[in-house]
Amino acid sequence: MVEENLKIELGKQGVFVTTIEELYNWGRRSSVWPMQFGLACCAIEMIATTMARYDLARFGAEVFRPSPRQADLMIISGTVTKKMAPQVVRLYNQMAEPKYVIAMGACAISGGPFKQGYNVLKGIDRYIPVDVHIPGCPPRPEALLQAFLTLQKKIDGQHLTGEGRPRHLDAEAQGEFPVPHQGEHDLEPTSNKGVWTVPVVIR
């Protein structure tokens, strides 16, 4: 690794020094294309985020792809009903690696005000791995920008080798997750093993 100060000094002399990892992560984080789909009212805030006032394009995410095959980021913007959950998981499975998920709003992270309802999933993180959770009902566009920056930081901090490397560089890593089946009374299973464990409540 090159020291940060040395890099700046060399830069002053017109020498650009970097590592493959830095370059690679810079490329990955600077063009995260979200998938174009919205589930509920949070989607309106997501749309506002992409428009001129908040301008998600500043961070390289202006291209919303209408196909999961071309998207890198899934923004779960809104309530995931039990009827919709299998389709969301299937769309996630259809995305190519590297892929990330932002769960946006109270409903997407926990079921929110509908948590005890008969038809709402208690958080999409029961079925697919979520990188960033945003609370709020709905979250402000600034919160989505913050989540996006958090995701960029996360991508930037990943090493390309060893433990914790990105999934697409790890042949063993699980990239596809079982799609829940709509049973007679509920989704089956109620959560995917290894993705979700019951959180410990500390009081």
Binding site: K82, Q116, Y118, N119, Q182, H185, V201
Partner: protein, 224 residues
């Protein structure tokens, strides 16, 4: 604005033996409703649309009336043999007796009608099924007001009322293969109360019941 009594009189004049009944609403809104006899409902609805110009159906919903257990005190007179003044006599005696009876429940479909032509409404119509288990059929009013189509599907989905004559009676909000009717009073939702960060009231009870049910399994694992 026609009153419910006038509408009822008009229906009875138009369709003899229609079996329309007024259910009064004692609240300040005084929004009385008409209860239709399911066997004449299509006839009455056609009459309301064509003759009384109720051309707009705004709302269809359902109500679940579960079986109700009523305990009441009844005065019972019976003859009792008593010893009065050293003689055995049969005396009539009136006693309060507590009795319980079960009033059978039913499912109810409620329709709200307006007349755009006459600027009139709402007219509230209700229909009741025979019971909550096997006689849950009601005639569909979709052939008369197309607006009822999705709302009757929703009532079918959430309450389980089967609308006879509906063109496309499928579940609307829940998926095919779902067995329950979630808006019924006796619906039991799936036991997924494993994680409740801020449980309270009913949720707290369910969360504790879930914890108690899953506790023996964990201790069994520990013993092994």
């Amino acid at each position: 604005m026609k009153t419910v009594e006038e509408i009822k009189a008009a229906i009875e004049a138009g369709i003899p033996g229609a079996g329309v009944e007024i259910l009064s609403n004692p609240s300040p809104s005084a929004q009385h409703s008409l209860r239709l006899d399911p066997s004449h409902a299509v006839q009455v609805a056609t009459f309301l649309r064509d003759q009384l110009q109720f051309d707009f159906l705004s709302n269809v919903t359902g109500v679940d009336w579960p079986d109700k257990e009523i305990s009441e005190k009844v005065k019972v007179t019976r003859s009792v043999t008593k010893t009065v003044d050293g003689k055995e006599q049969t005396v009539e005696e009136t006693v309060d007796e507590a009795r319980k009876r079960v009033e059978p429940g039913c499912l109810e479909a409620v329709y709200h009608l307006f007349s755009v032509a006459l600027k009139d409404g709402p007219l509230v119509m209700r229909m009741r099924t025979g019971n909550r288990t096997d006689q849950v059929e009601l005639p569909s009013l979709t052939p008369i007001w197309r607006a009822a189509e999705f709302q009757e599907r929703e009532v079918f989905d959430l309450f389980g009322i089967v609308f006879r004559g509906h063109p496309d009676l499928r579940r609307l909000l829940m998926w095919e293969g779902f067995k329950d009717h979630p808006m019924r009073k006796d619906y039991v939702d799936p036991d997924d109360y494993e994680y409740e960060p801020t449980p309270h009231d009913e949720v707290l009870k369910r969360a504790e019941a879930h914890k108690a049910a899953s506790q023996p399994a964990t201790t069994a694992v520990k013993e092994l």
